[in-house]
Amino acid sequence: MARVSQAELVRVLTGIVGADNLSTSRPDKVAYSADFWPRAQIWKLAGEVERYPPDCVVWPKDTAEITQILAYCHEHLIPVVPFGGGSGVCGGTVPIRGGVVIDVKRLRRVLAVDPVSLTVSAEAGINGQHIEDHLNAAGLTLGHFPSSIMCSTLGGWLAARSAGQFSSRYGKIEDMVLGLKVATPDGAVLDTAERAPGAPDWTQLIVGSEGTLGVITEAVLKVQPLPEARRLRAYRFRHLADGLKGARAVMQAGLRPIVLRLYDPFDSLMAFGKDPEQKTSPRTRPFDAIRSLLSSPSGGAHDDAPAKKVPGFLAKRLEPWSKKAKHAAITTALSAPTLLNRLAQAAPSPCLMIVGFEGPAEAIHADAIAADELLTACGGVDAGARLGESWLEHRYAVSFKQSRLYQLGAFVDTMEVATTWDRLETLYHGVRSALSPHVFIMAHFSHAYREGCSIYFTFAGYRKDAARLEQHYERVWQLATDAVVANGGTVSHHHGVGLSKMAAMPREHGEMLRVWRALKDAIDPHGVMNPGKLFPDTTEVAAGSAGGAARSMVRS
């Protein structure tokens, strides 16, 4: 198990993938030094564009090349980071120990589509939207629509247990996968579909491993015929509790909406604009400014709703805001978010719910009627189809907005937690009150299931200089995860763990982590796969290996 020099590493890997498919160049090191972990964006704000550069990046063309790379790195204790779309938001692909980044995106073929049995088999590096395009061309759909569908890959979804916006009907990616192939450090390729009698379900023991066990190279998934019809509607609830009751009633009746999401009053305001029935208060100006930054760009549905028309005199008082004033208002507000959070509370707004069904036209008609009855019984007021359709149309738009906040020097992050229905509200209030003094916070409840639901918190914070912003960020996450654990939730419903939630893992899993250690020892005994991620106490790569000379993770 000799240590190798950078030159030797490059020579050997070039021999495997060819010179064109290996890079040590600056642009690649920069591009592969981080994912979309907000903390890495803060590094960028501080002027650091490659805090953790890899020693090299390789683009293998097939599974055979991947196994050779893995076997070599395994033998020489070189860290390996599998890389899909790099859209992870938890630092999962940050090469904190340097080493080799394996970008799997050249493995991007759809291998087989079976329209009779409704399955697809594809290579792991395929872009999310691209696999959907191929399926659509065959009259099918995967039914998996994460907001990052355009910038993430099949392998990344499986590695991080991704959820799409239609998860209530089609499930998360782990519910869709029938089997997968994973290349392991000893040079083997394991197929999880080979579950012998008396063996556990290997698929579910690999899914979610975030590159720490091996490289996922292929998967077989369930698909659906393209729906004949789709229907979306919005409901308005006066109280959050009523909305949650309604959501639960729908799911537990066995209805299977594609989407069922309930926005808390603040998020309702952000996503859909002010309730036309509410009076606008000038006191909420900073809030409006943030809304314009965070909400969907073409405006939520209310923006083009005729009811929205603000009386002329009010409009005048609201409109003429210089850019600078707006900037100042936002940063000031974000520095002292308690006030803002209170203001948001003071601007009373109902909770909006989006419910949608798709499938055969008559069937969804019946489903929609049934849902309507249940929701109305819980105090929901039909807010029409247009808000629902508009949500669908703009459902990816909000992601475009975060860039603007970073440009102001602020950060914005999301935390998607989950729990059973009985604890959902407690969890919601627990996290809100823990974070309210520190960041501006709002939430929606999406990904509803029969026995529970996830809560998707969005929070934004600001400090004047980037170093303090990073500290602030870290503290906020610490408080947030503590609140989640204390209130009986899981700290991640679909973004995964990466670096950002690693510290919460011992509390999340307790002694179950033994299974992890056993798995890790059995599959990656030298600990070369994505070291320092997911769980804190995995076998560490010995210091001084390859170029990945033990760089410590957190430099704060």
């Binding site: 591009a31 592969y32 779309g85 859209s87 603007r404």
Partner: protein, 379 residues
């Protein structure tokens, strides 16, 4: 978010695109799937996000300009798929053109000017003689044909066909005289050699001055004349028409023998996205084909760039070829027998990629096949 170009030598070139580059640098690469270069290279560093981030890092001093960094700026093919998808409509093509010009001005010329200069064509090259010969019409006819260098180079047959079609349909004015031999300077502009580009552009403007209706065959050339030249204060007096816009009204007069088969239409980026000409070409095809043209899964404003445009054919021919292969693969996946395009650049690159697997034609060729004679002479 269009980028107003800066005069050459302007220190603030990068500041003028600051908003665009900063938006991308902190964006989670949301348009990644649209970028054909990012897709075929599988490289993060070749995505709109990464290229724009490089510019932003250069602008803010987070990184220093080197040959390697400058080289990545040339990976964009200017297809504008990202811009079209982006909610902010960030003009990636424009920002990168500015960044290249900025680098060139600072002496970082990873691809020297010479590679993008296309000397004027001479009479014995391709169909140029034909175009010039048709000067038998008036000196400045109502319809002047500007085939563009690419058309003359790659699909000279289409020029002949268009001329003979015009003949058959009794449009008796189609020539642009000496203007036909000029290159619009697209490559120079795109690669950031703006001094040379401006010289070239001025000569084109001079050559076509006086034309009334200019029928431009190359969508790239049309984009230059319609959109890019005006940014630099250069205006073409003539009404600019694309071949399809010229053909459509004529077809109603011609007798058509409709062409059978599974024939698909590939939108050129410049036509469909840069210029928004998406319906007219389809209407033309609908009049020529037995069945409506088969739509590719990525069509219209979402069309997939085949690598024919931009300057990848010059700087990274391997990438350009892979992009064409991607389009061909889609065409085969939906079972096409024949693929047509209105862009000579597209026809050339798709033909190369398709080999014997798929027939690729200029749409004008289809028209020439289908139109038997003009309606009047039948009567």
């Amino acid at each position: 978010m269009a980028t107003p170009p800066k005069p050459p030598g302007d220190e603030n070139r990068l500041e003028s695109v600051a908003k665009a580059t900063a938006t991308c640098a902190f964006c989670p690469s949301l348009c990644k799937h649209t970028c054909p270069v990012g897709t075929v290279t599988a490289r993060e560093s070749a995505t709109p996000w990464a290229m724009m981030s490089v510019v932003d890092h250069l602008r803010t001093g987070r990184a220093e300009l080197t040959d390697t960094l400058a080289r990545t700026l040339y990976l964009c093919n200017g297809c504008r798929a990202c811009t079209d998808f982006c909610v902010h409509h960030v003009d990636v093509e424009g920002a990168l053109v500015e960044a290249r010009a900025w680098a060139v001005e600072r002496g970082v010329r990873v691809f020297p000017e010479q590679r993008f200069v296309h000397p004027d064509l001479t009479e014995d090259q391709g169909a140029l003689r034909e175009v010039r010969a048709s000067e038998r019409y008036e000196v400045r006819p109502v319809f002047s044909l500007f085939p563009g260098r690419a058309t003359l180079e790659h699909t000279p047959q289409a020029v002949d066909e268009l001329l003979s079609l015009a003949d058959r349909l009794d449009v008796d004015a189609l020539s642009c005289g000496s203007a036909a031999q000029h290159d619009t300077g697209y490559d120079l502009w795109f690669a950031g050699h703006h001094d040379a580009f401006l010289r070239q552009a001025r000569s084109v403007v001079d050559a076509v001055s006086g034309a009334q209706d200019l029928v431009v065959m190359s969508p790239e050339a049309l984009y230059m004349m319609k959109v890019v030249y005006p940014r630099y204060g250069l205006r073409i007096g003539a009404e600019l028409l694309h071949t399809s816009e010229f053909l459509l009204p004529l077809l109603s007069g011609g007798v058509v023998e409709r062409i059978p088969g599974r024939i698909g239409y590939h939108d050129s980026c410049h036509l469909a996205r840069h210029l928004g000409i998406r319906d007219v070409p389809r209407q033309v095809l609908r009049r020529l084909l037995e069945e409506p043209p088969v739509e590719l899964p990525l069509k219209g404003a979402e069309t997939l760039c085949c690598g024919g445009t931009g300057c990848l054919t010059e700087t990274r021919p391997d990438v350009a070829a892979a992009m064409a292969e991607e389009v061909v693969r889609w065409a085969l996946e939906v079972g096409l027998e024949r693929l047509v395009s209105f862009s000579p650049e597209c026809v050339a690159s798709l033909r190369d990629a398709a080999g014997s697997r798929l027939r690729v034609d200029h749409a004008v060729t289809l028209a020439a096949e289908a139109i038997v004679s003009d309606g009047a002479s039948v009567v």
